[in-house]
């Protein structure tokens, strides 16, 4: 594969073997972002769990203190007043029958769907459309709730959902590279803390096996996990 000049330049600066600290890595990624848009900071953690066993599943939500920097489009499926409240709270779309019909026809052009419990009977049938896109509201991730206003605000403020995929790796986007180093570090720590809290009791051996940070088009940097995990634990 042809390696671009940009990547060649980056490869000279970084080392594949070295384990960086969080701040160091973020700094390098920020300084070497030479593309024409604002890159995101992505994180990948390999966990020592087998997600095929239901009791070793790691999934949840975390509110990033400084948000993700992305614009999140929200649909609230609710009836009457709740829909009005949701629109006022900042949801792009809110309503009931109209949207159920639209989703039935394949529309799902939003990032998050929030629903009140009384519409779940209808909405639950639409798994064929929403399921593959991961948009099905779920009380576990707080997207099925009476308090839609709070839910909308949380999502807009940078609440993200994550779950470990087949091979035992969790991915998350932790913000944009135009955030300050401190902001990004805090976001990363918030995410790590949540992951640490969710350690399943049945998981054997080392829990966090490895930890990488990368930018959208930049290199992946190995993070010194012991130091970082220790730091997040003691905080």
């Amino acid at each position: 594969m042809k390696v671009s000049k940009r990547i060649k330049a980056i490869n000279k600066i970084i080392s594949k073997e070295k384990e960086y600290s969080l701040q160091e890595a973020i700094k390098i990624l920020k300084e070497n972002s030479k593309v024409k848009f604002t890159e995101s900071l992505d994180c990948a953690i390999r966990l020592g769990v087998d997600p095929r066993h239901a009791d070793q599943m790691v999934r949840g939500t975390v509110s990033l203190p400084h948000g993700t920097g992305k614009k999140v489009t929200v649909l609230v499926v609710a009836k009457g007043q709740a829909a009005q409240d949701a629109l006022q709270a900042g949801a792009e779309y809110a309503g009931f029958e109209e949207y159920i019909e639209k989703i039935k026809n394949g529309w799902a052009d939003v990032d998050v769907i929030i629903a009140t419990p009384d519409v779940m009977g209808e909405l639950g049938k639409l798994g064929r459309v929403l399921g593959p896109k991961g948009l099905m509201p779920n009380p576990k991730s707080g997207t099925v709730t009476q308090d839609v206003v709070k839910a909308v605000k949380e999502v807009k403020a940078g609440k993200i959902e994550f779950r470990v995929e087949k091979a035992g790796i969790v991915h998350a986007s932790l913000g944009k590279l135009d955030f300050t180093v401190e902001q990004l570090t805090e976001n990363a720590k918030a995410f790590l803390q949540t992951i640490m809290k969710l350690k399943p009791s049945s998981a054997k051996g080392q829990y966090v096996k490895s930890l990488y940070l990368s930018s959208t088009m930049g290199p992946g940097l190995k993070i010194n996990k012991d130091e970082t995990v220790f730091a997040t634990k003691t905080e």
């Binding site: 095929r52 239901a54 599943m57 419990p117 399921g131 991961g134 009380p139 099925v144």
Partner: protein, 646 residues
């Protein structure tokens, strides 16, 4: 993952294995080898749990999922292929059921707030499980496996009842591959697979993370899929790391070692015996002699297992049949309105050795069954020649024999006139000796059943033998023997088989079944393969020629269209230019005329006229200049446009 301790099991009074201890761990890919009837299938059944051990225990890890592909498969009935395969994903099916229950409960408006919240939590749990189980990619996974195993897309909605024996096995295999098992047990999986599906299965099994235990006589398959070998040998089960080829090498070495060990031992025994003989009656040596006798008693004699015994098979020389033993006239046969054979006309000559080939489901078994009079065709006529005696060996061997018969019954069933002594001789030559002959058919292994079916074939004194996949359950050695016997046989033979090596020395005619009709190739199987390749190539070339023909026409059409477009685009400018050129030539003529006038002394001597002419000349000149300019810009434009169409 699985721990087998002190396992013993016996059949008809004889131990299959004694005190066996093995451990199977995750990701082990194991070939299970051993001669026919040593208990390979039994071991698989024990691990799967269909059979229970007499002594010892089989410990399985909690929650382990095992998939088992047996040799003989019950037919699937009453569902479409797709739904049948989907039933293997039990988790997903129960989830779907749960979901519909919860959803209908949610839509009941009379339930209390509390119940509703509980139901929604449950629904959330179900949705989460669905995501974890990759629910939404299930259908594409099923499609991938079915296509890989050779099913067509139009088969997906067909009922499972419609599929033949080989396809039933593939349905079972698809279910096992799909179910995400921790351990997959396969007993002779390659029996009914054609080459494409076999290659697909190999690559699938190579990439799977499940542990495997495979029993197969297909050397290529076993070597490419497995990396460990379990050998059943001398009632013991031994583990070797290394694939089948490495195991074979090891086995040869062990044989050599054992032989030399045996020689040494014999020598030692002889020495001891001589010592004892010599000094037995000598009082001073009595003690030494006693100790030597003890030594002799203690020696464990090295046993070398006899070479795998081979089947001795000779078909009795048959009475001659007529010149045309069988003739088919306009045979058509369909299953549930799907035509398998259409208007088949065929004459089989005495002494023909015919191979029937063709893709799975092309009607090979149907044709042989019709000829053997086991199946009545939908329409058409079969004429049997004088003195034609047909015997038939079929794919599902077990189907045709009563499972409660013992072996002697099984043979007497075919021909009751034959004395029991002769029956025992035949059974003996098929490696069933001593008390073996009282075994019930139902306890026989797949390979043993095949041998019994072949023995039955021997007793019929037929002059026309039809064999449907005879090599399926036979090991390498037995295959060779059968081949030899068939070469010697002087009657007529018809064989359905995918095994090219087996057919090669026997066959002198090949019938290819494809698209409901039959094609006859004279000459052996190699000749057929060459001709087929030629045909394929011819078709390819023709297709290519068609394509070039087509492309030439296309090219012409495109050029014409281009010309048309260019014409339309340049038409206006061209007429303008033409008009302008006419004007210019007129003006040029005018200019020359005026110049001539100006040169005329009559005119330039008269100042008034000279002045007028001069101003006219100037005007013509400037007009001309203008027109030149317009012309040049127009012709530039034309050039530009024409460039676009090049």
């Amino acid at each position: 993952m699985i721990d087998i301790k002190n396992l013993s099991i016996q059949f008809t009074g004889e131990n299959l294995f004694e005190n066996v201890n093995i451990k199977i761990s995750r990701h082990d890919k194991i070939a299970l080898v051993g001669s026919n009837g040593t208990g390979k299938s039994t071991l698989l059944k024990l691990i799967f749990g269909i059979e229970q051990p007499e002594t010892g225990i089989i410990q399985k890890q909690k929650g382990i999922r095992i998939g088992y592909l047996p040799q003989d498969i019950n037919s699937f009935k009453g569902q479409t292929l797709f739904d049948e395969v989907k039933t293997s994903l039990q988790d997903i099916q129960t989830l779907e059921e749960q979901e519909s229950i919860v959803l209908s409960a949610l839509n009941d408006l009379s339930i209390s707030e509390e119940d509703r919240n509980e139901l929604i939590d449950e629904l959330g749990e179900i949705h989460q499980r669905k995501e974890e189980l990759d629910f939404y990619s299930t259908n594409s996974k099923i499609e991938k496996i079915l296509i890989g195993l050779g099913f067509k897309e139009k088969d997906f909605s067909r009922m499972t009842d419609e599929f033949s024996g080989g396809w039933q096995m593939r349905i079972q295999m698809a279910k096992i591959l799909l179910a995400d098992n921790d351990l997959i047990l396969m007993d002779e999986p390659t029996n009914h697979l054609d080459i494409d599906s076999l290659e697909w299965l190999i690559s699938y099994l190579q990439s799977t993370t499940s542990a495997l235990i495979i029993v197969s006589h297909d050397r290529h398959f076993v070597t490419s899929v497995t990396n460990k070998t379990l050998e059943i040998y001398n009632k013991q089960i031994n583990f070797y790391s290394g694939n089948y080829l490495q195991y074979l090498k090891f086995k040869d070495e062990r044989e050599i070692q054992l032989i030399s060990l045996q020689k040494q031992q014999e020598k030692k025994v002889k020495e001891l015996e001589r010592f004892i003989e010599r000094f037995r009656y000598k009082a001073t040596k009595a003690k030494q002699v006693q100790s030597r006798i003890k030594q002799l008693e203690k020696i464990e004699i090295v046993e070398i297992l006899e070479e795998e015994k081979k089947v001795e098979l000779h078909f009795p020389s048959p009475t001659m049949s007529g010149i045309i033993p069988v003739e088919l006239i306009d045979i058509t046969h369909s299953f549930n309105d799907i035509a398998v054979l259409k208007n088949i006309n065929l004459q089989i000559e005495r002494g023909d050795k015919i191979a029937i080939v063709g893709p799975n489901g092309a009607g090979k078994t149907t044709l042989t069954k019709i000829i053997a009079n086991k199946l009545h065709p939908t329409s058409g006529k079969i004429i049997y020649g004088n003195n034609t005696i047909i015997s038939y060996y079929e794919q599902e061997v077990a189907d045709s024999i009563n499972p409660d018969f013992d072996l002697i019954d099984a043979l007497e069933d075919v021909n009751s006139e034959i004395p029991i002594g002769r029956i025992r001789t035949i059974l003996g030559s098929f490696l069933f000796s001593g008390d073996d002959v009282f075994k019930k058919i139902k306890v026989l292994s797949g390979g043993e059943k095949s041998r019994i079916a072949l023995a039955r074939l021997l007793l019929t004194k037929s002059n026309f033998i039809i064999l449907d996949e005879p090599t399926n359950h036979l090991d390498f050695a037995s295959k060779e023997i059968l081949q030899k016997a068939l070469i010697e046989f002087s009657g007529t033979i018809m064989i359905v088989s995918h095994d090219i090596d087996f057919l090669k020395p026997i066959v002198n005619k090949v019938f290819e079944l494809r698209n409901n009709s039959i094609k006859i190739f004279l000459g052996g199987i190699e000749n057929y393969l060459i001709k087929k390749q030629e045909l394929d190539r011819k078709i390819e070339v023709e297709e290519k020629e068609n394509q070039t023909e087509k492309s030439r026409k296309d090219q012409k059409r495109i050029e014409a269209e281009l010309r048309q477009k260019r014409y339309v685009a340049t038409k206006e400018i061209k007429t303008k230019i033409e008009k302008l050129e006419n004007e210019i030539s007129k003006l040029e003529l005018e200019k020359i005329e005026i110049e001539n006038q100006l040169a005329d002394p009559k005119i330039f001597s008269n100042p008034q006229i000279a002045k007028n002419t001069n101003s006219l000349y100037e005007k013509v000149k400037s007009d001309l200049e203008n027109k030149y300019e317009i012309w040049s810009s127009l012709s530039n434009q034309l050039e530009e446009i024409e460039k676009q169409f090049k």
